[in-house]
Amino acid sequence: MGKKRQVNNNEIERAVDEKKSQTLHLDWWAFIVAGVITALLVIFTYTQVKPIKATNDGVVTKIDDVNPDDPDYKERKGEGPIVFVDYQGQSESYRNLWPVFVSENQKVTTNQLIGWAWPKKGLKIPFKEVVKPLLPKDNKKPAPKDSAIIDSLRTGRHS
């Protein structure tokens, strides 16, 4: 009986050691594999992300963030905010920024980092053309209201 018990214990110890080592490896491998896959994805994504800098001295007029109360929430879900900057009468907007380094009414200077523009599948405005001049250079027409700009960006219809 004693011998049988000894055999059983040896068996279970061997099985447990084997399983313990497998589990230990699985734990670390899960960590490592997830880390490697993510690191590759992060590197790939960040090669496509574009830093958006102020083209001139100006002021941030509006940051249109996505929120669940927004009627276009479903369509814009997953996008970052649209940032509107006024450069002495000429407005530009930058879409799908994450993170945004400025706040509303903040003055910005030339080359100041406003945010990172992220690519997004199905984005109507390709993110490399996020800089959208809203007024002709002669600056004769009045600047369109922010709400009109937001609408045109959401619907993809631009005048």
Binding site: V16, D17, K20, L26, T45, G78, G80, W98, K121
Partner: protein, 368 residues
Amino acid sequence: MTGKKRNVIGFVLGLALLTLVGLISLYLSQVFNQVVKVNGLREILASEVVIAIVLGMLINNLIIDRIPKLAKFLEPGLEAFEFLLKLGIVFLGARIIASDLLRLGGIGLGMVVVEILFSIFFVVLFAKLFKLPEKLGSLLSVGVAICGVSAIIGTSGAIQAKKEEANYAIATILIFGAAALIIYPLIGRLLNMTQNLFGVWAGLAVDNTAESLATGKLYDQVLNSGNDIAFKAATIAKMCRNALMGFVILGFAIYYASKGMAKQIEHKGRFLWQKFPKFVLGFILFAVIASLGIFGPPESPLLSSLKSIEHWAFLLTFAGVGLRTRFGDMAKTGWKPFVVGISTEAAVAAFTLLMVLLLGRFLPRITG
């Protein structure tokens, strides 16, 4: 064919079978979604979790389990779901907001401590009443209290239990894990539980990690919620349980060593670190990184890619849960462990349900 070569082929074929079950589940889910018109029934039948598990069970019990050589041959690949489960949990961290983790994790840890103490007390008491061997009672109690199979295996080594005792305890826990997949969502629907409360309950009460997470995911799909609140809540609560595994095993090891029935544990700190599930660290790390915005806005291309990998890892895990469920195990457990198992499972389920319902108002709501 050499043993190593056979193992490699078995691994590839087993993994291919998991993938096939996953693919068929996705396809059938879409078909049922269009064909079944009855609300309520459609959500159950079109749930890819349900389909993957049921399909896995059918394949295993009707084919694989009847051919022992085939079962042994495919085992390395089918067991890969344990790795996929851990991988999926780490990736799921990227969709958890760190503040949610901190708030629910904090309360969850407190609830887990109460749940563990209650479970151990109840199982040990029942084991004594039914005159089960003391170590079998201890194995069942850690299985019910913490983390099913992993905890039983960890404890059986530490307290030097018999192989049969470990097998009994594992079989009992697996049976109740499979039963939980059906019973818990039914109770949740009957009580009209919110996804958040149900998820915490599933995380606290369902024994095995895979079954616990599957139960949460199933509830989300049955409710056709379009989000993963129950799944995420179940994961956080279950990770709290898993994180405490080392302490409970150490407690049992010290108890049996004091009675001269097991070896003394010399380096307790090292022992705790060895028993700590490292993928929990990955889960937390990913939640922190995601909350710092490094992965971009919610549903950014990067997060969408991570979500796709996570989705596949879990789908194959759920297929693996089905493929490892053997109805024949019920006969192997013997009636005493089965009665102790069913009594304690019912008691722990009722106790944790009561705890969750009473403390529900204090539980933070997880972001979908």
